[in-house]
Symmetry: D2
Subunit: 99 residues, 4 copies
Amino acid sequence: MNVIVNLSIFPMDKPGQSLSPFVARVLDVIRDSGLRHELGPMGTCIEGEWAEVMAVVDACYRELESDSNRIYVSLNADCRKGRDNGMDAKVRSVQDKLR
Amino acid sequence: MNVIVNLSIFPMDKPGQSLSPFVARVLDVIRDSGLRHELGPMGTCIEGEWAEVMAVVDACYRELESDSNRIYVSLNADCRKGRDNGMDAKVRSVQDKLR
Amino acid sequence: MNVIVNLSIFPMDKPGQSLSPFVARVLDVIRDSGLRHELGPMGTCIEGEWAEVMAVVDACYRELESDSNRIYVSLNADCRKGRDNGMDAKVRSVQDKLR
Amino acid sequence: MNVIVNLSIFPMDKPGQSLSPFVARVLDVIRDSGLRHELGPMGTCIEGEWAEVMAVVDACYRELESDSNRIYVSLNADCRKGRDNGMDAKVRSVQDKLR
């Protein structure tokens, strides 16, 4: 199946710090995977086969685990057979139908 | 507070139908609000004050309620005092810190 | 429609503090609403009509807004016409079908 | 780290069918894992080490993938070093602080 995950993951024990350095480290891990992805204001979308995408989610967690004592993860996935290039297709399909 | 919501809302009772017409109707409602927003593959981000953003979430639900028997909503919000133009700022702040 | 929301809401700016006092304040707000609810390890489920439930979500946010500079909200809702006592019914319906 | 995941996973292509048979199959998979878990109205909480919990999430997906063309997954995780028996501890800690 074609899987699109929106992943939001951040440490909860970094008082008064901006979270962007942690998000950047996570995004570096995602970029290294070579999977199609898209950074947004509330998470990064990653597209691929289920096992590929979940391996990246695992790597993102491992990246933060190294220096965090508490981590929050929020993940939504839309998994669909026979879809191709789902991230672009979904957005275009909605834009085509706007009033 | 500056609030950024990622809203995903869709009917669960539309067998074998593409969901994009429903997402387009929801996006039309969001556009009518005049609030800053951004369509993504896994939801639409909306930015504003809490009451403004939640009024739009309510309007989106009402739009689908008219002809759906079952609706699923997934919503994540990041609310922060003293932030301005948060959607752009968050993305830029991460991009500036990439390896 | 009968709406069941799983609400997780917490401050992100409380360094090294347990979050349970904040969750307890939120749960007090939910209890005051008189709506059916159920505390779980990852959020509290609230059941009612959409407007009722969202009014409680709003009150929970207002409770934390008073002394937090950053708040995270994660909310999932299952909304269904013609369902009654949905929280109990959903759990029982699954338990009846276990192997 | 001690990880508590709230997992909600369901097929999106089952027109007019109750979702409980699918949720029951998922719960059977979770029970087979031997991990601590708790069924709720909006998902099942699973507790363990990250790798253990994510292996169960993977098995749940595989269970539904066999006869679904579209699957939605919503997952939230709270991961904390040095916590033990987190599901019970979190709930009790909140209940102790209610007004």
